[in-house]
């Protein structure tokens, strides 16, 4: 059943220059099958777990995919956001569009579907080769989305994007290989065996750091984040939405799958400095992106900075999970909820930029309401999805001896508020 992620890939194979504008429905339909399967697995036991697990000893170094319950919310969010953003993308390229249809439909369609395959695949992969394949597929295919409009700024952003991506992949390759070597088993280890290998290795800290940086490039980690405000806004708006909403989470997923979080058989004292670094960099990202972001003059750039800020909060949570193994399980659950909530709302806010241009009259009011709700969610006002996600984490944090960290995290909402106000101002000022 997991092979449904290849629906997008197969779709990409059938696209030609001639039929591209008749295959636009793929943009919307491709993620739906896996989304439905995920949803069914979440709400009931109807699907036997054996149907959600694929193994093959002769593919790669032993292929192993499964739908992991703890990542299911993220997978559902990813599929939904891609499909929803696909509606906007299909409209951009439709020959019946009111405005002029965008050029290079075939190229966009292929890149979109390949990126989607990568983004879905990395959420189900358990073996290192598949995971690395999907991660790389997503990264490199997304280049085509970033530069699609081929404006000078898009091309420049694309260059920075690809250079940072290659640097990230290099850290990742080094990290994955050395983590796998540290496991020291006869067979090639699966991703979930890596954390144990890292804590038992003498070089655990350097291995974990390589992985932290390698995935951090994608996750907008402070220090290696600067490609993100360039690349996310220049892509066509639907692509910006999936870049900032869904694909940015791939870095987070990488962290969650490979870093030694939670109680392992050996104390993870050797990675304590990394935990502190993650907390610190998380704070810098959460607050710093807010300060820098409010000075930018484009709505989409403000949103990109907001993504860095939100990912900063997730990085901080990662640091706490690494630092306090006993609370890790709860923090992890909070992170997945937080990431899913951010994906949906950030996706909506990005799509709002396109929506806003197209809508008029009553439509405009609807847009305003939806975007206001999304922004309030992101800020985390009471009764919002943001408040729910953050409260999960704060409940854990309250019991830990973390000093001012609780306050620092809570008031991160101020940065978000400032960014959302700036976004609203920029969006509504252009009339």
């Amino acid at each position: 059943m997991l092979l449904t992620i290849f629906f997008a890939f197969l779709g990409a194979c059938t696209v030609t220059e001639q039929n591209a504008r008749r295959r636009l429905w793929l943009l919307i339909a491709a993620p739906i099958p896996i989304g439905i399967i995920t949803l069914m697995s979440m709400i009931s036991e109807l699907i036997p777990s054996s149907a959600l697990h694929i193994e093959s000893a002769s593919i790669f170094l032993g292929l192993d995919w499964s739908l992991k319950p703890q990542l299911a919310p993220l997978l559902l969010m990813t599929a939904a956001l891609w499909s929803f953003a696909g509606i906007f993308a299909a409209r951009d390229f439709s020959p019946a569009a009111k405005t002029k249809a965008k050029p290079h439909a075939a190229r966009f369609l292929r890149c979109w579907l390949l990126t989607l395959t990568g983004n879905l695949g990395l959420l189900v992969a358990n073996d290192i080769a598949s995971f690395y394949l999907f991660f790389a597929l997503m990264t490199f295919a997304a280049y085509g989305l970033v530069i699609h409009d081929e404006t000078p700024s898009a091309l420049k952003a694309g260059k920075v994007y690809i250079i940072m991506a290659v640097i990230g992949e290099a850290f990742l390759l080094a990290g994955l290989i050395s983590a796998a070597a540290s496991v020291g088993s006869e067979h090639t280890p699966l991703l979930q065996e890596l954390p144990q290998g890292i804590v038992s290795s003498d070089h655990g800290l350097s291995i974990a750091t390589a992985l932290f940086i390698g995935f951090g490039v994608k996750a907008g980690l402070a220090g290696v984040h600067w490609w993100l405000p360039l690349a996310h806004p220049v892509a066509p708006t639907p692509a910006s939405a999936v870049l900032s909403g869904a694909m940015i989470k791939a870095g987070l997923v990488g962290w969650l799958l490979t870093l030694p979080i939670g109680n392992l058989s050996e104390p993870q004292a050797n990675i304590a400095p990394l935990a502190s670094a993650a907390i610190l960099l998380g704070l810098i990202g959460a607050w710093g992106a807010g300060v820098v972001g409010v000075f930018s003059g484009k709505a989409k750039t403000v949103l990109a900075y907001s993504s860095i800020s939100q990912m900063g909060m997730l990085t901080l949570m990662l640091g706490v999970a690494l630092r306090y193994p006993d609370s890790a399980a709860l923090v992890l659950a909070a992170m997945v909820i937080f990431a899913s909530h951010h994906g949906v709302n950030k996706g909506l806010l990005f799509l709002g930029v396109a929506w806003r241009k197209a809508a008029s009259g009553v439509g405009l009011t609807v847009v305003a309401v939806v975007l206001t709700v999304a922004a309030l969610n992101l800020i985390g006002v009471p009764w919002s999805s943001g408040a729910y996600a953050k409260d999960l984490f704060k409940a854990v944090l309250a019991d830990l001896p973390v000093g001012i960290l609780y306050a620092a995290f809570s008031y991160g909402a101020l940065a978000t508020t400032a960014l959302m106000l700036r976004y609203a101002y920029l969006l509504w000022q252009k009339r």
Binding site: I59, A129, L133, I147, I167, E169, S178
Partner: protein, 499 residues
């Protein structure tokens, strides 16, 4: 029967070569039939031997030339790795060459030497001792020279001279090394044997043996294009594309790399080599070559030159794998012998297609070619991703094993070299992919020879390219399949390390 099989394998190309020399140039169909039949027969024979070796059968032909010096052809698991690669790629290169040289003069001469070259390669892979190896190693040099200078232009004659100067020099060093080894340790150490033959010879001075090792490695290192003996390789790219493919992927550089494997594993033995301390210098030499080759490749604007420097870099992965003491590193080096072959052949086929179809030789002429030649460009893309080391291509498997092997051998710096090399490969291949797929066409092609009809180019050129592309993916995707290159390399490695 078993005694004659190695000779038969060698004979198929040798006889084919002699007959082809006699075929008049105009008899295209006869020559092509001969060529392809010989290639298919050889693949069949090699497959037979591979199957036999799985079941521990022995295939050996031996006769004594002078007392103490035997001429030996023997099929062991290692020789099958190389023979399998050459016989399969020979088929595709031949098909490609038939399409490539259609209508050009001196085709019988070309295909005659082409077959002779493959016969030498077969001889190298089946050679059972250093002496036999040396004979075929020299024969390879002489049979490739006419191919390099085939076009007869001033540039190709100059390149041919450089080629001869380097390779004959290397051959002389190898000869010197063999003579020194035979006279110092006796001819019996020249016999190739699993885990090596020198291990037992404890009475010999390790320093002398290490010195002879250096001479031998320089001898084969010229063909393997180690820095600073690599100068001939970028120059020799003036040859026609199928020849470049042969030089880079199947025959010459591979013969050098294979020689290193033979000397380290089957003469000195991996454990003895580690004892006398020659593995680390070999590893460092390989590392320098890997990085230096990539840096030079970055600076080339001519497509085939960039590929040539990329070969300099990639072939040294094999030597690096050999230098990593431990079974995993060995697997990485051995499997890369095959993987580099199929990936590089794909890239050279694609480069040849661009040149033949559109007259494109330079990288900045490739703008927008992806739309005009999608099949070739897809093949080039897969080959390039393989060189970078991304799954699902074969290159990822090589890099994975080499990386783990480096850590297990306690040589973490080698992992750094591999990662840096990946980044450099990305730096010189990704811009090409960008031009192929994203840049708009600049105008008319430099020199369009083959118009787009049913296929983007001559099917004789297109299908071999797509076939090797499929191998590149299959070798990575099905790496753990019982009949994959990786499984075979694992078998060899296990036999080398088990006492």
């Amino acid at each position: 029967m078993n005694a004659w099989l190695p000779v038969a394998v060698l004979g198929t190309s040798l006889i084919a070569s002699l007959i082809i020399f006699l075929v008049p140039d105009a008899k295209q169909r006869l020559r092509s039939t001969l060529n392809i039949t010989a290639a298919l027969v050889k693949i069949g024979l090699v497959a037979w031997m591979v199957f036999g070796i799985y079941q521990q059968e022995l295939f050996e032909t031996r006769f004594t030339l002078v007392p103490g010096i035997d001429f030996v052809l023997r099929a062991d698991s290692l020789s099958m790795l190389f023979a399998g690669l050459s016989s399969v790629l020979w088929l595709f290169t031949t098909i490609y060459a038939i399409g490539y040289l259609e209508g050009s003069p001196h085709r019988s001469r070309f295909f005659g030497f082409f077959s002779l070259c493959v016969a030498s390669t077969m001889g190298i892979s089946l050679a059972g001792n250093l002496f036999t190896f040396l004979i075929f190693f020299e024969m390879l040099t002489l049979s490739t020279y006419p191919l390099v200078v085939h076009r007869g232009t001033q540039a190709s004659l100059t390149a041919g001279r450089t080629y001869l100067r380097y390779t004959l020099g290397g051959g002389a060093m190898l000869l010197l090394g063999v003579v020194l080894l035979y006279s110092y340790a006796g001819p019996q150490v020249g016999e190739f044997a699993e885990t090596g033959t020198l291990r037992a010879a404890t009475s010999l001075d390790p320093r002398t043996l290490a010195a002879i090792f250096v001479v031998l490695i320089i001898g084969v290192g010229v063909k393997a294009a180690f820095v600073p003996f690599h100068g001939w390789l970028p120059v020799a790219m003036v040859a026609p594309a199928p020849v470049s493919a042969l030089l880079h992927a199947v025959a010459v550089v591979k013969a050098g790399a294979f020689g290193i494997i033979r000397i380290v594993y089957n003469v000195y033995g991996i454990e003895f080599s580690a004892q006398i301390g020659v593995l680390l210098p070999l590893g460092i030499l390989a590392a320098i070559t890997i990085i230096w080759g990539s840096m030079q490749a970055l600076r080339q604007m001519e497509l085939k030159k960039r590929l040539a420097y990329s070969t300099v870099s990639q072939v040294s992965y094999i030597a690096l794998g050999v230098a990593l003491f431990g079974p995993i590193g060995s697997i990485g080096g051995l499997v890369h012998l095959l993987h580099q072959g199929i990936m590089k052949v794909t890239l050279f086929f694609a480069a040849g297609n661009y040149a033949e179809t559109l007259g494109i030789h330079r990288i900045d002429e490739l703008d927008g070619v992806g739309k005009r030649m999608p099949g070739t460009s897809l093949a080039f893309t897969i080959g390039a991703l393989g060189m970078i080391g991304l799954p699902p291509t074969a290159g990822f498997i090589s890099k994975w094993y080499l990386g783990i092997g480096a850590l297990e051998a306690g040589m973490a710096w080698a992992l750094g070299v591999l990662v840096l090399s990946s980044a450099l490969n990305a730096a010189y291949f990704l811009p090409i992919l960008y031009r192929l797929w994203f840049k708009p066409v600049r105008g008319a092609w430099p020199d369009e020879q083959i118009p787009a009809a049913r296929f983007e180019t001559d099917p004789w050129l297109l299908f071999p390219t797509l076939a090797t592309m499929a191998f590149t993916i299959a070798a990575g995707l099905l790496a753990s399949h019982p009949w994959s290159p990786l499984t075979w390399a694992t078998l060899i490695s296990v036999r080398e390390y088990l006492p």
